[in-house]
Structures are given as structure tokens and as C-alpha cells.
């Protein structure tokens, strides 16, 4: 079995307007890739399309999860095959506690009941790693959370659900440096031969703590450059303009 998340020639429209224009990208398990690029490049769109957001129209292309094309699958089916998206803007769901929701999600992914003891064990370990307060899990999902709390909650879910592939969409935005370190620690504990991640970020800052194996740059709906972690540093120093000229975007 192939152990990669592969995007092949992906074209996506929103309300008739082309946003992704032939994206090609491969993230193998065991690696962390960064996806950088200016605002409006299409990074979040790519994340949501991979997760199966029905608001986007896929015109062409493939999304291969361990070799299987998942373009036609519903978001929950994709998740059960091992995909996870940490949202740039996590959604509030009043009245539903984090603990209750996460246990349902874990059970859905496994297709069987998960004993309370096991579940709370996992939850507790994740909370400790994220240096969070246990009281949060009895709060309603993202309701009244600060931006930083929402992001931490996304990583908590990542750690409990243990997907094969995770896409983290600007998990760093809105975090102070201490929170950033903690979130990075959470992601780093997930790293290993069975886990691949695509870390979407605007800034180099996060990549000091989650050091990527590969860096991709997206502009105007395409991947225009791919390199090692030094590429992120170069972008931090020189901005995106030189690259725009280089690729003629």
C-alpha cells in the first residue's frame, strides 16, 4: 500500500471563480511539509477541499489517500480513512462538550465503542502535553473560546483522534509565543513513521518549532516552488515578491 497523501492536478472553483489551478503535491507518511504563500493564494481552500468541504467545486484532479482517490467521498468518510483538518477558524457548537463530541468522533473513526477509561486516558495525556486545564473538556465546543484556546483545542482533537494525515491551517495565527511552543509540542509528539502533516502557515515563526522536511510555496492557486526548510527562512527574509517575479506569477 502506498503511504502518501497525493494531490494530482487539482482544479477547484468557488461560485464559478477558479481558485486552485492545477495543484500537485505529495506528503508521505513520516514527513511534515509546510505550505506557505501570500494571503489569498488558495492554501485554506486546498485544506478544505482535501477534507471534503461541499462548498467547493472540484473540476478536475485527484486526491489520493494511501493510493485511493477520495474526491467523491463525504467528509466523514475521509476522516474515517485517516484524514484530519485543523481549521483556521474553528466553529462553535453550543451545548456539545468537547469530551462528549471527541468520544463520538473517536468511536465513529474506529467503528466501535471506545471504553470510557481508555478515552479519558488519551484525553488526559493530550491535555498534559498541551499544558491545558482539564476543565476545558467539559466546556462546550469552542463556545466563547479565545482564538488561542480554539487552536489548542484543534491540536487536542488531533492528538486524541490520531489521524494518518493532518492538515494544520494557520494553527499559529493568534497564538502568543508560549502557546505556539505548546501547540508545536503537541504536533511534534504525533511525528513518526505513520504520520504525515501539511502545515499551512504564513510565517516562518511556527517552523522554528515544527521543523518541516519540505516547504512548498503556493501562489495564485498553484505550487510554484518546493524546497527544504531553508526555503522558509529565505521567504521570511526576502518576502514573496522576488518569487513572484521568478515564477512570473
Amino acid at each position: 500500500m502506498k503511504q502518501t497523501l497525493e494531490i494530482h492536478d487539482l482544479w477547484v472553483n468557488v461560485e464559478g471563480i477558479p481558485i486552485l489551478k492545477g495543484v500537485n503535491l505529495t506528503v508521505p507518511r513520516g514527513e511534515v511539509h509546510a505550505l506557505m504563500g501570500p494571503n489569498g493564494a488558495g492554501k485554506s481552500t486546498l485544506g478544505k477541499v482535501i477534507a471534503g468541504d461541499p462548498g467547493y467545486e472540484v473540476l478536475r484532479g485527484q486526491i489520493l489517500l494511501d493510493g485511493e482517490d477520495i474526491v467523491e467521498l463525504e467528509p466523514d468518510e475521509r476522516a474515517r480513512k485517516g484524514l484530519f483538518l485543523a481549521f483556521q477558524y474553528p466553529v462553535e457548537v453550543p451545548g456539545v462538550t468537547i469530551a462528549n463530541f471527541l468520544r463520538l468522533a473517536l468511536q465513529a473513526r474506529r467503528g466501535e465503542e471506545v471504553a470510557l477509561g481508555e478515552f479519558y486516558g488519551k484525553l488526559q495525556r493530550a491535555i498534559e502535553t498541551l499544558e491545558w486545564d482539564e476543565a476545558y473538556v467539559t466546556r462546550y465546543l469552542n463556545e466563547g473560546f479565545s482564538g488561542g484556546e480554539k487552536k489548542r483545542n484543534e491540536i487536542l482533537q488531533l492528538m486524541v483522534l490520531e489521524p494518518a494525515y493532518a492538515i494544520l491551517d494557520e494553527t499559529d495565527s493568534g497564538l502568543d509565543i508560549d502557546a505556539l511552543k505548546v501547540v508545536a509540542k503537541g504536533v511534534n509528539t504525533m511525528r513518526g513513521p505513520n504520520f504525515g502533516a501539511l502545515v499551512i502557515t504564513h510565517y516562518q515563526r511556527l517552523l522554528n518549532y515544527i521543523v518541516p522536511d519540505v516547504v512548498h510555496v503556493m501562489m495564485d492557486g498553484r505550487i510554484v516552488k518546493t524546497g527544504g526548510s531553508e526555503l522558509a527562512l529565505e521567504l521570511e527574509e526576502r518576502g514573496y515578491d522576488w518569487l513572484k517575479e521568478e515564477v512570473g506569477a
Binding site: P54, E92, P94, G95, F101, A108
Partner: protein, 469 residues
């Protein structure tokens, strides 16, 4: 409703089966003769027959409501209902073994004897017009707690009964209270002596079996000084193509410093007109909670009300309504602040699905004498589909200048971004929708005893299957 529509709905309603039980007596049509026959069968005192006959007159005199849901089909059928159907059980039984097999099996399917064993202090089971089973835990009986059918309440405790009966809801209150007063049969009589705390709930279960039938239970609950009790009612019926009618009257007296709760989980089939009057009289420093859950019925008109009669009296009205195709649930509550330092709140959560319609109707009265009264009203509506409807009729009459009044109302739609967020975690769309709905009603549902909360969640999951996408 067409056969096809009915079949579609019946598939989701698992309580829609009917028993093959031959009633002992069936009385059809609305007339003085029928009222006399009911009274005679029950061997009632003369004063009660007179009360009934006078109430029937009041019913005929009062006009049909010109507001609220459409009652025209019901009105056409008023002469054709069976107004009294006596099951073949002589008197109510205290042991399930004495209840005829077919009827007992129905209650077993509904899980009543099991719940009685596990989580209830007592159970009353009504089948069509009569209570066929009524039982209370012995230790409570020893403490003087009375939990009987309304008929036995009249027979065995006539003086106590007469002191409170029809004082909270007189027949003249409204047309359907008058109808119930003329025809009432079954329901419970509850008395909790001073200082006695009934920690686990008492439950009454109302089952309709006969087609074209009207059920008119009457319940009178008296919680004496400093006592405490929780009464729960549930109900189901077979689905028929013809209309059915359920018109209850519930009267509750909460004496000084007492605490009471009344919970309804209404799950009638969608051919039922459910027109119920519920009122509590709350005395000094006493507390009453109405928790009103309406899931079933074709039309419901039901506004549990509390009259805060004594200084420091408190009441909460919590309401959940879930209206699907072919349903109009007109619910809410009324709070009458009749003394100083009283406080009360209404929290209403309604969900409309498909072409369902839910309406919030509330009345708040704070006259001048209700100094320092505190009122809070919150009504939230959630719409699942494009065709779903909701409306609100919040009436407020505030004369007391020192009263504090809060009111908040929201309407929201089941949000695509919430569904997407939950499904990306692996939760299927239907379950995600059910989870959002459960979260929406959580502020009310958390007040339910665990077993009933679980049951409510299960009902919501059933309702939400295939409702989105």
C-alpha cells in the same frame, strides 16, 4: 393525511402499533347523556355530576379560539369522537400481573415496568379512559404520600380533593379546560404531606389505543409545606388516518416552602390534537418547575403557567418543541407575578424540521403589587430545512416599576459550517445534525433525569435521520 404520507411517518414512529383489545364500554358523541353515563359508570357523588354538566354548558358557550393553530379539521370531527372508552380492566391494579396480558405487554414495550423498578417512586398507567395500573413504593405510602388515580382520589380523599379541585384551573378558564371538566377520566391525584421529600420521580403514562378517541385525563397535585416531589408524564398512541384528541387539565398547588417539578415528554403520533391546560399555584417561598417537552402530535396548544401567589415564590418554565412535517406546535408558558419578591423565567428551545412549524407563545404579567419581581425570558428557535417555520408571540404586561425584566429571542438555521466541522472529525452527517440539535436543547435537557435525557436524545436522533443533506 394520505395513506402514503402516513406510512412514511409511521416508519419512524415505533410506538404506532395498536392492541387487539375489546373495550368494555364506548361512548360516542358530545352530549349531556354521555357526560351522565361517564359519571354513572364511575359511581360519582352528585356534586361532581353537576360540576360536569355545568362545564359542558360552558364548553358549548365558549367560542373556538380565533388565534393559534388551525383547528378546523378537529372542529368538524367533534361529534364523531368516542369520549369515553373503558378498557376491560376492573379498577386499577397494583401489580402488573393483574393487568391483562395484551395491555401489560404494551407497557412492557414502552419500558414502563422496567423504569418503575429502576428509577421511579411510583407509576400510574392509563389505557384509553381509565388508569389500569397505579402503584407507589411502600415506604412513601407509609409516610402518607398519596399517589392514586383521580377516581380513587375522589372516592378515598373527597374532602382534600374538593378543597383544591378546579380551583387552579376552573372550567371557565378556556374552552378545552371546560371540555375536560365535563368529560375527565383518569389522571392522577397526588398529595405529599408537609416536609416529606419524594426524591425520585413519580410517573404517569398515557396510552391511547382506540381509533377516533378523545382522552381527557385530569391531574391534581398538592405538595404540602416544605415537601418536595417530581412528577413525570409520558404518552404515545397508535397512528390512525383519522384525527385523535387529547385534552388534559393539570392543577398543581405548591404550598409554602415546597418544591415541585412537573415534566412532560409528549410523543403523540401526528394525527393527535393535543390541547392541554397546566397551571401551578406557587405559595410563599415555594418553587415550581415546568419542563415541557413536545415532540409529537399534529397540533399542540400548551402553555404551562405558574401563578406566583406568595412572597418569594419562584418558578421556571423550560420548554422544548420539535416540529416535523405535518406538525404545528404552539407552546411556551405563562408567568403571573402576584406577590412581591417573586421571580420566574421561561426558557424555550424550538426546532422546526421539514415543513414543521413551531410557535412560541408567552405571557408575562407583573402587576404593580409584584414589587421587585424578577423576570427572564429566553426563546431560541432552530430551523433545520428551508421550508421549516417558526414564529413568536411574546406578550408582556409589566406595571411594577421595581421589576427587572429580561427578554431575548433568537432564530438560527442549522449551519453548514457546523456540520462540516463535525463531519471532518469522522461523525456522519445525520449524527452531526443530531449532535447540534442536542447541543441546542442542552440547557433544558440537562434538567431531565438521566434516563429521560437518554430517551430524549434517542428520539432526536430518530428525528434527524435523513433530515439534512
Amino acid at each position: 393525511m394520505s395513506e402514503a404520507e402516513l406510512k412514511h411517518i409511521a416508519e419512524d414512529y415505533k410506538w404506532g402499533f395498536a392492541d387487539d383489545v375489546e373495550p368494555e364500554l364506548k361512548l360516542k358523541g358530545l352530549s349531556e347523556d354521555v357526560v351522565r353515563a361517564i359519571s354513572e359508570t364511575k359511581g360519582e357523588p352528585e356534586w361532581l355530576l353537576e360540576f360536569r354538566l355545568k362545564a359542558l354548558e360552558t364548553y358549548f358557550q365558549k367560542p373556538w379560539p380565533t388565534w393559534g393553530p388551525d383547528l378546523s379539521e378537529l372542529r368538524r370531527q367533534m361529534d364523531d369522537f368516542y369520549y369515553y372508552v373503558k378498557p376491560p380492566v376492573e379498577g386499577e391494579r397494583r401489580s402488573w400481573d393483574e393487568v391483562p396480558d395484551e395491555i401489560r405487554r404494551t407497557y412492557e414495550k414502552l419500558g414502563i415496568p422496567e423504569a418503575e423498578q429502576k428509577v421511579l417512586a411510583g407509576v400510574g398507567a392509563q389505557y384509553d379512559s381509565e388508569m389500569v395500573y397505579h402503584s407507589i413504593k411502600e415506604e412513601l405510602e407509609k409516610k402518607g404520600v398519596i399517589f392514586k388515580s383521580i377516581e380513587d382520589g375522589i372516592k378515598e380523599h373527597e374532602e382534600l380533593f374538593r378543597r383544591y379541585f378546579a380551583k387552579v384551573v376552573p372550567p371557565s378558564d378556556n374552552k378545552f379546560a371546560a371540555l375536560n371538566s365535563a368529560l375527565f377520566s383518569g389522571g392522577s391525584f397526588v398529595y405529599v404531606p408537609p416536609g416529606v421529600e419524594v426524591e425520585v420521580p413519580l410517573q404517569a403514562y398515557f396510552r391511547v389505543n382506540t381509533e377516533g378517541f378523545g382522552q381527557f385525563e385530569r391531574t391534581l397535585i398538592i405538595i404540602d409545606q416544605g415537601a418536595k416531589a417530581h412528577y413525570i408524564e409520558g404518552c404515545t398512541a397508535p397512528i390512525y388516518t383519522t384525527e385523535a384528541l387529547h385534552t388534559g387539565v393539570i392543577e398543581i398547588v405548591v404550598l409554602e416552602g415546597a418544591e415541585s417539578r412537573y415534566t412532560t415528554i409528549q410523543n403523540w403520533p401526528v394525527n393527535m390534537y393535543n390541547l392541554v391546560t397546566q397551571r401551578a399555584l406557587v405559595h410563599e417561598n415555594a418553587y415550581h418547575m415546568w419542563l415541557d417537552g413536545n415532540l409529537g402530535s399534529k397540533v399542540t396548544m400548551k402553555y404551562p403557567s405558574s401563578v406566583l401567589k406568595g412572597r418569594g415564590a419562584r418558578s421556571e418554565i423550560l420548554s422544548i418543541a420539535f416540529a416535523g412535517d405535518g406538525q404545528h406546535l404552539d407552546t411556551g408558558g405563562k408567568l403571573i407575578f402576584a406577590a412581591p419578591d417573586t421571580s420566574g423565567s421561561i426558557v424555550s428551545k424550538s426546532i422546526s424540521k421539514g415543513e414543521g412549524r413551531s410557535s412560541y407563545r408567552g405571557l408575562i404579567k407583573v402587576p404593580q403589587r409584584a414589587e421587585r419581581a424578577k423576570v427572564n425570558v429566553e426563546c431560541d428557535a432552530l430551523l433545520i430545512n428551508e421550508a421549516s417555520k417558526t414564529d413568536t408571540y411574546p406578550y408582556m404586561e409589566i406595571a411594577s416599576e421595581s421589576a427587572s425584566v429580561g427578554h431575548e429571542a433568537t432564530v438560527s438555521r442549522l449551519a453548514d459550517d457546523q456540520i462540516f466541522y463535525l463531519t471532518t472529525r469522522g461523525i456522519p452527517e445525520d449524527e452531526a445534525a443530531a449532535l447540534i440539535v442536542r447541543g441546542f436543547i442542552e440547557p433544558v435537557a440537562k434538567e431531565l433525569p438521566l434516563e429521560f435525557a437518554v430517551e430524549l436524545n434517542r428520539l432526536i436522533e430518530l428525528e434527524m435521520e435523513g433530515s439534512v443533506g
